[in-house]
Point group: C2
Chain length 80, copies 2
Amino acid sequence: MVDAEVRVELKKGVADPEGKNVEKTLSLLGFEGIGAVSTIKIYHVQLDEPNERRALETLEDMCEKLLANPVIHNYSVKIL
Amino acid sequence: MVDAEVRVELKKGVADPEGKNVEKTLSLLGFEGIGAVSTIKIYHVQLDEPNERRALETLEDMCEKLLANPVIHNYSVKIL
């Protein structure tokens, strides 16, 4: 079993309402000097594939088919 | 402005229905050898605080007050 992480983040320019809300709420809570807040999603995946290159290919395939929407997301995969 | 990342993940033993659903859907899509899938949330925060130690303290304070629920989440902060 290999442990891998898939990182899915919004492309530049795509609205991130959750990030904006966190930003606003932090200010309301009294935190000062807050710049932009954005949210990123990580999927920690265990995969039964001893070959690292093939594991990475499988993970990229998962992103294309399920984990990321190529219109709005950038993704990256790494083996831990 | 410093760029920081706050990583919020579920504690061991806490149910992660989103991860479980991804796991099941990947299998239904034909992916084989999938072990556990779990989800992690990253908040990318820009902070106007030149002192790194104080920035980290502020970020931990944000976790305690808003970003994480100490009952179910572990969190970690890092300056990029």
